[in-house]
Amino acid sequence: MENIQLLLQGFETALTFQNVGAALLGAILGLIVGAMPGIGSLAGVALLLPLTYKFNPTTAIIMLGALYYSNMYGGSFSAILLNIPGDSPAVVTAIDGYPMAKKKKRPGQALFTANMSSFIGGTIGICILTFTGPALANLGLKFGPSEMTALLLIAMTSISWLVGENPTKGVIITVVGILLASMGMDTLSGAPRYDFGNMHLLGGIPFTPFVIGAVGFSQVIKLINDRTKDNGASNSDMKLTIRGSLLTKHDFRRLLPPAIRSGFLGTFVGVLPGAGATTGSFLGYAVQKKMHSEEELGTGAIEGIASCEAANNAAAAGAFAPLLALGIPGSGTGAVLLGGLMMWGLNPGPLLFTNEPDFTWGLIASLFLSNILTLIIALAVIPFLLKILSVPVKYMIPIITVVCVVGSYSSSYSMYGVLIMFLSGLLGYFLSKNDYPTAPMLLSFVLAPLLETNMRKAFIISGGSLNIFFNRPITCVLMVVFFAVVATPIIKSMINKNKNKKTEGTN
């Protein structure tokens, strides 16, 4: 009850004209920056941080919260409409978002699903943060390397659903992602690894240019075959209005369960140090694969978009728990936010909730506020976003190429980024021409460094013994879940084979 009272006081602080205006401005700018491929939430928040200098501390922090939050919404826009994920969590959104927009010709509904799921996930995340913030942060601290390894192994199982018809090719492409991610500096020892004497490779392969190339540029290369098609005419049956983009009751019924489930799951993942929104969205998708979906995931299913979008926004909210209650940023974006909070005289830590209740609860209230404002703005811009799809393909090719080049340069501030984008585009093109799915490569590229670091740390702690994965209670439970996730389809197929044999025998 005390928390609700404090939250209401926070709303009193947040709901002044100036603060609502700042939150609105933050939401709009964050949405635009989030939608720009190559910028992402980290660079977005860092780039927009100076804008808050002009306000008083409370307004500045409210704007900062809105910027951070709306950034999470924006990443899905380019993923759904252009198949170019704006940031790493949106990689999963593109798997179902783009087919729903293109093949099913329901781009408005795909965007609506992403926005609504983001809102639901975010609201769940902020509610949990309101009531259990400090306790949740302490739970997050119980997650050591072995627990994180087990959790990441579960997240890695999502890859197996994307390997397609040929598992051999799926395994190869997954390992390609892992090996590419291992290039650069070794995260534990700091020693150069697979840099082959190249200064640029010492820094590793930057994720954003890599994903822009492998997904976006390779898409442009293939798109040239459709350049003679009049996109404007073929999309004329699409409804370019908010009403035409609304979800049906049936769509809502499909959206709600995965969004709510991923909301809880994502918040929990967001609390874990280093896990972040990307792991949250992968895990949300992996869990959804185990649940009932009306359409197969990967073919443009509402459940697919809802599960990952809700999880990544909930994770963004969950990340505030360790940030505020313990002063530990869970991600790079969290670190920038922490810097912003400290700049305004706040010292995040166990005493923040008692020493600075106005600031803290004002910030949490502003997250609620910015979640609502961002949803309204995101829904209002759907008709304008949909106009992108009515641009003829022959004109889209040079535009997307330029966005790929500029976006990859902006994320790395170097032509090396553009070169990586170009080469990964070629790799993605040749692989897809030869029936290798590219999605597993991107997923393993993101998760492998986290998995490797935590696995090696766990081995170092245990002196090389595997027992560490079964001695600790949380790890043990997670490992059981992991083995269950892996074994279920194998056992199911064996049972089905036996059944088929029996029925063949009786016939």
Partner: protein, 149 residues
């Protein structure tokens, strides 16, 4: 005898890459240390072994695939355009290189009317110069002009 195409070349290349990663991982980076546990080559070496054997399997399977990968000359044009932008950036800078690419692409390849070309150039100018350059403050490379200025 079946002709060797990209479906066979890719697994061979992958096996070669796996071999390099595996050998560098084990012999240069180190696999396991009795005192400090897994070394930097531990994880990638294991993955390289997995990739090597699956690549061999994929190579064998590739001969059973009936469909050949088909490449279109226009697809290669986009690749050439991408390479052209990168090369031109070192001479005239990134933003002019993008504008020249769009102009040439639309006028020569697509035979687009000037009105459409100008609209698209304005949209690109808004995104590149307005949003990325002016608002987000990204300093784009200026090529040789940087040295002249």
């Amino acid at each position: 005898m079946k002709k060797i195409g990209s479906k066979q070349l890719i697994p061979v290349l992958m096996a070669a890459v796996a071999l390099v990663f595996g050998l560098v991982g084990v012999f240069q980076l180190g696999f396991w240390d009795a005192a400090s546990g897994p070394m930097p080559g531990f994880f990638p070496s294991i993955m390289a072994v997995v990739m090597f054997f699956t690549s061999i399997l994929a190579f064998a399977q590739s001969f059973k695939e009936t469909e050949k990968a088909e490449y279109n000359k226009f697809e290669l044009l986009v690749i050439a355009a991408g390479a052209g932008i990168i090369l031109a950036t070192f001479i005239i800078g990134l933003v002019p290189a993008c504008f020249v690419f769009v102009l040439l692409w639309l006028r020569i390849l697509e035979k687009a009317p000037w009105k459409d070309v100008i609209i698209i150039l304005l949209v690109i100018a808004f995104i590149v110069i307005g949003v990325f350059g002016m608002w987000l403050g990204i300093q784009f490379p200026m090529g040789l002009f940087e040295y002249i200025l």
